[in-house]
């Protein structure tokens, strides 16, 4: 499958699959590998994204997980307006 079509198919699957519904994972396909790149909030979401993507990929394409888990509990730097 042409790599851009594969990216489209992966993106659609990640957005619409009820296990994920995620739209902001970057997908790159190059050198026989498909990369999932981006931030998720939990290991469950990471595993779900990998699972959904793996179901879409042709067997000759290797899935590379470059997702990381991030949590933000501290307030940001205050800003004064006006």
């Amino acid at each position: 499958m042409e790599s851009k079509h594969l990216i489209g198919r992966l993106r659609e699957a990640l957005a619409t699959d009820p296990r994920t519904n995620v739209l902001d994972i970057t997908i790159k396909v190059a050198g026989g590998k498909a990369f999932l790149i981006g931030e998720v909030t939990s290991d469950e979401r990471r595993q779900a994204a990998i699972e959904v993507a793996a179901e879409v990929l042709p067997p000759d394409i290797e899935l590379i997980d470059e997702l990381w888990i991030a949590k933000y509990d501290e307030p940001g730097r205050p800003e004064t307006l006006g």
Binding site: D24, T41, S42, D73, G76
Partner: protein
């Protein structure tokens, strides 16, 4: 006035306790908490209930708009009802005025929608589906204009999920700008006049700061972008308004019967 704001919290059932922890000290930093949509990940009723539990005890007023994720399972009305049950205010083409230390903070909120920006935007033309897309944006922009204009307050804030300017999309792929916001929202904010700040989310890879064509500061508070639990904005009450509020408070005190 101190305003805490965040968008795109994307609560899922795998996040129980996380938002409660994030907002644990928000009342020490801010007078009000605004949440700019994408409250849930899958748009389910259960996620809405969880969010309601998580924000029930933050100790300051919470004002929210819904985002596209919150509509995914057509449970938006149930999500709204659950949030309102714990005292939160959900705005969709509506506004609220909050009394903060004798000053009136007005928030007009709407989800908004896409369509694009000057020179690269859709029009209400052609297929029914295309016309419906742009008509929805126009409806949302009109609602925002009307509820901003109706506000009688000292400080006025516009709260949307979609972006009212492309400034705060910088960093996103250009091709998806029309799905991230619309100039019509910015136009409504400018036409209403007197907005101190416009807050939105949705663009996780965008930029934090922007400005409408009319000069209103815009801040993208999408959580994955701000990389913090929330941002805090201190907004000064305009000098004339400060006097007016003080006079109104004095007049109110004078009319209030005292008890011995």
């Amino acid at each position: 006035m101190r305003i805490a704001a965040v968008g795109d919290v994307h609560v899922g059932l795998d996040m129980r306790g996380e938002l409660r922890r994030s907002f644990a000290a928000v009342a020490d930093h801010a007078d009000v908490l605004l949440i700019a949509g994408d409250l849930t990940q899958h748009g389910s009723r259960e996620e809405g209930k969880l969010l309601a539990e998580e924000i029930a005890d933050v100790g300051i007023p919470v004002v929210l708009v819904l985002g596209n994720h919150d509509y995914h399972q057509d449970a938006q009305d149930a999500i709204r009802a659950d949030l309102e049950r714990v005292g939160a205010t959900v705005l969709e083409g509506e506004s609220v005025v909050l009394d903060i230390d004798g000053h009136r903070l007005g928030v007009a909120g709407v989800k908004g929608f896409g369509g694009g920006f000057a020179g690269a935007c859709g029009s209400e033309f052609g297929e029914l589906e295309m016309k419906a897309f742009i008509r929805h944006t126009k409806d949302k922009a009109r609602q925002l204009l009307h509820c901003l204009r109706a506000l009688d307050c000292d400080v006025r804030i516009a709260l949307t999920h979609y972006a009212p300017t492309k400034d705060t999309l910088l960093g996103e792929k250009l091709e998806i700008y029309p799905f991230l916001g619309s100039y019509l929202l910015g136009e409504a904010i400018d036409e209403a006049g007197g907005c101190a700040l416009a807050l939105h989310g949705h663009a996780h890879h965008g930029s934090q700061r922007g400005i409408t064509s009319g000069g209103v500061p815009v801040r993208n508070v999408a959580k994955p972008l701000i990389k913090s639990a929330y941002q805090i904005f201190s907004v000064r009450v305009p000098a004339g308004r400060e006097d007016a509020s003080a006079r109104a408070a004095l007049a109110e005190d004078a009319q209030t019967p005292t008890t011995a």
